[in-house]
């Protein structure tokens, strides 16, 4: 088994090549302690030999400024516990060789057996570039394989090259840069500081530590970054810094080679991408196109996913019914149905939206348009303190924060990404709508429209959307200066040429996304859902036998057998049991216990139970409230409004309390699926707990202010 790594700049066709090489035999995982995805697959070559193919994160340079680069380096230098690589295939974009070769040089300087896979030879030919491959191989000192990954061309040559390199082990490209006297000195000084870390390792390894970001070096070895900077201080004039010289000297080796070996057979003409950009990035037309594209994306997540969501609901209802019917009533059936299966349903129900969003994102990304959207909105987003790349994730969060948070993986900078994930739950998602409907239908239905046509309920709901958005901006402002300090990566992104998206790549990406969500996020959702069920189902409540018997006797006397009245009367008893079960459960006691805490917001213990129950998903507030009142419930609008009416009559709800409740729901993080997604995307419990704390505290304060001011003004 040969260990083969794929490295390369983003957008060079690395993923395409990985998919071609491994077919269906690959899986996605996570690197330990970090949110970079790890993909490993196996390949059986034409001659029966097998490879384990490692897809390293795409990066422009190996010197670490981000977790991707850190991981790529750690993997290459064998620090992640993998077997050493027999060959490192560096995928290069043949149309843009110089910048791509920088990475190859850096990897070669680590004394690794590299192969230059010159991909996109078709695009190079179309641009009128002629590459002298024999000359390149001679200059670089490593095999050069021409490829067109998206057509699967070049694989046999690549197999041969890997075999050659792996057999010889030591292929040293002649390309390794020659350090200047100043660089030599810096290397020696750094070696002293680095000690064991680089003992017996190449100068390239020393340079990596020297040129990587101090914060990353410090994380790998506390205090080391600082000591390195003391040993090799940065120059006053940044253009004279030795760290720059390292890169400049690498380019000084690369540029002449590229000049010698790549010929332009036709003068440079305007590329198709440049022509498209004249429209796509036009201040008026481009902005219009952008709005249309984003509106379509939003529609897809918000509306077009609905039939599939309903199908999932029905499917799960059917499965639940089967399990319910097959098992004798009792604890086992309850835990399976109300705990596990409802968690499974609560996972699967997100899939349609996730797939829709990631289909949209894959199309945007593969076509090259995603980088353009960041260009178009960067200014606007910068004004509210968020990076341009946060636009799509935040927009999707108006449909649902779960796919929205997952979409932040298209953002490069780790801090920016974290910040976006933390404010995404503030976007009013569609699960809040039933809650808004519940309140507005109950308390504002009769109010006269403002200006004769604007319904008060509608205005209040619109205000909730505005509130969420404004708080997100404010939270970003504060978090940027406190919990998520630093970051704010300046918009610096490549604009790849426009290309036709590949269905195969997209399907593969969707499959991976769905699989990761169902297996990893889903597991957390199910666990939390079982926990919630336990809270609501224990201790068990049983109607005392005499009471049951006497009530059944009353029903038997007052209604005719098999009459609708009798069925209804028996349902009433059942609902009463459900109500009392809930009321004396842990959740019920909790709801009552938190009453002093939520009374200043205008909420009584019934809403307290509702708040706890709706942690499963915000819209669950409605059926939980129905259960608190011992009412039946279905999902129709009338039923929702009937629950609201009941709350109104009991005094639990008043217009002021209703608004306070809406404000609370607009802000609070009460969604275990979002918690689970945050856990998976940040790879730990720290940030989900942080988000829970700050969002719920914020919600409490906002509702408190609304209710107390309202009460002071004489509303109740």
């Amino acid at each position: 088994m040969l260990e083969v790594a794929l490295a390369g700049n983003p957008n060079t066709g690395k993923t395409t090549l990985f998919n071609t090489l491994t077919g269906a035999h690959a899986h996605v995982g996570n690197y330990p302690g970090i949110t970079v995805e790890r993909r490993v697959g196996t390949r059986t070559c034409a001659n029966g030999e097998t490879w384990r193919v490692h897809d390293l994160p795409g990066c422009y340079s190996l010197a670490a400024h981000s977790p991707e680069e850190e991981i790529a380096h750690q993997a290459l230098t064998g620090r992640l516990g993998d077997a050493p690589f027999d060959a490192v295939v560096v995928v290069l974009d043949a149309t843009n060789l110089a910048r791509n070769l920088l990475l190859l040089v850096q990897i070669a300087e680590l004394d690794l057996p590299v192969i230059a896979a010159l991909n996109m030879m078709d695009a190079a030919a179309a641009e009128g570039l002629d590459l002298d491959l024999v000359g390149l191989a001679a200059d670089l000192g490593c095999p050069c394989v021409p490829m067109i990954a998206r057509k699967g061309i070049g694989i046999p040559l690549l197999e041969q090259a890997v075999r050659d390199v792996a057999g010889r082990r030591q292929v040293k490209p002649s390309l390794v840069s020659v350090p200047s006297a100043e660089m030599r000195r810096a290397i020696e000084q750094a070696r002293v500081v680095l000690g064991d870390l680089v003992d017996g390792r190449s100068d390239g390894e020393v340079l990596w530590w020297l040129c990587s970001d101090r914060s990353i070096v410090d994380r790998l070895q506390p205090g080391l970054g600082k000591r390195l900077e003391l040993a090799v201080p940065r120059a006053q004039d940044p253009t004279r810094d030795v760290r720059r010289q390292v890169t400049e000297s690498r380019y000084a080796r690369i540029d002449p080679i590229v000049m010698r070996r790549v010929r332009r057979v036709r003068p440079r003409a305007q590329t198709p991408s440049e022509r498209i950009d004249r429209w796509a990035l036009h201040p008026v037309i481009g902005t219009g196109l952008f709005v249309v594209a984003m509106a379509l994306l939003f529609q897809a997540v918000f509306l077009w996913a609905n039939p599939a969501i309903e199908a999932v609901d029905h499917g799960m209802a059917w499965v639940t019914g089967l399990v319910h019917g097959a098992l004798p009533p009792g604890l086992l059936s309850d835990i399976l149905v109300d705990g596990v299966l409802s968690g499974v349903a609560g996972t699967l129900v997100f899939l349609p939206q996730i797939l829709m969003l990631f289909l949209g994102i894959a199309l945007l990304e593969d076509s090259g348009y995603l980088a353009r959207t960041a260009f178009l909105v960067d200014r606007l987003m910068a004004r509210v303190g968020l990076p341009g790349k946060a636009f799509v994730p935040l927009l999707s969060s108006f449909a649902c924060a779960v796919p929205g948070i997952m979409a932040t993986r298209t953002m490069g900078d780790r801090r920016d990404r974290l910040l976006t994930m933390l404010v995404a739950p503030l976007m009013s998602c569609s699960a809040r709508l039933p809650v808004y409907t519940l309140v507005t239908a109950a308390v504002f239905a009769g109010t006269a429209p403002v200006l004769g046509f604007l319904s008060v309920g509608g205005l209040v709901v619109a205000a909730m959307y505005g509130l969420g958005f404004l708080l997100a901006v404010a939270a970003a402002f504060v978090l940027r200066r406190t919990a998520v300090k630093g970051g704010g990566a300046p918009l610096l992104l490549e604009m790849p040429p426009y290309r036709w998206p590949r269905p195969r790549n997209i399907l593969r990406a969707l499959k991976d996304r769905a699989w990761v969500f169902v297996t990893q996020t889903g597991a957390v959702i199910v666990a939390l859902s079982v926990l919630l069920w336990v809270l609501m189902a224990f201790p068990r409540f049983q109607l005392p036998a005499e009471e049951l018997a006497s009530r059944q006797a009353v029903v038997a006397q007052t209604t005719a057998p098999d009459s609708p009245q009798r069925v209804e009367a028996l349902r009433v008893i059942e609902r009463d049991v459900e109500r009392r079960q809930l009321e004396q459960s842990i959740a019920g006691h909790l709801g009552k216990a938190i009453e002093p805490l939520i009374a200043p917001l205008g909420f009584d213990w019934r809403i307290g139970i509702g708040l706890i129950g709706s942690f499963a998903a915000r819209e669950v507030l409605v059926p939980v409230m129905a259960q608190v009142y011992g009412r039946g419930h279905d999902d129709s609008d009338e039923a929702v409004s009937a629950v609201g009416q009941t709350m109104l009559r009991s005094g639990t709800l008043t217009p002021l309390r209703g608004v306070s409740l809406m404000v609370f729901f607009a802000i609070a993080m009460q969604c275990l699926s979002t918690v689970a997604t945050l856990k998976r995307e940040t790879n730990g419990w720290k940030w989900p707990v942080f988000a829970l704390t700050y969002l719920n505290a914020l919600a409490w304060i906002a509702s408190f202010v609304v209710y107390q001011i309202g009460a002071a003004l004489g509303y109740a």
Binding site: N96, D241, R244, D255, P256, V262, F375, P496
Partner: protein
């Protein structure tokens, strides 16, 4: 037959390139470069990781660069550097020194 990437200026004629610098003449920021005009990078005057990153991306001495467009309202710039396009904010473009290249613009 044009070379794809010209030799970095110092390799071609170090004295010419350096003397231009010393007089402080014809040193513009990338932001000032007119749209469509070919320029040559003179240096990235941005300290720390950001400056290093720009150099790694290919803003090395003598590299050819052209501004393709500017987003309205002080938004980012779209730039062709060497053989690829990228966008960057004005703050960074301000720190990149360029010299308009004599002769034909190739972008």
């Amino acid at each position: 037959m044009d070379p794809v990437v010209a030799l970095p200026a110092p390799l071609l004629h170090p004295l010419v390139a350096r003397s231009g610098d010393r007089q402080g003449k014809e040193r513009h920021a990338l932001t000032d470069l007119a749209v469509g005009v070919l320029g040559r990078v003179q240096g990235v005057e941005l300290a720390g990781a950001m400056g290093e990153r720009l150099v790694e991306l290919g803003f090395t001495h003598g590299a050819p660069v052209t501004v393709l467009r500017r987003a309205p309202f002080g938004g980012p710039l779209q730039v062709r550097l060497r053989d690829f396009m990228l966008s960057l904010r004005r703050e960074q473009a301000d720190a990149i020194r360029v010299r308009p290249a004599e002769g034909k613009g190739d972008a």
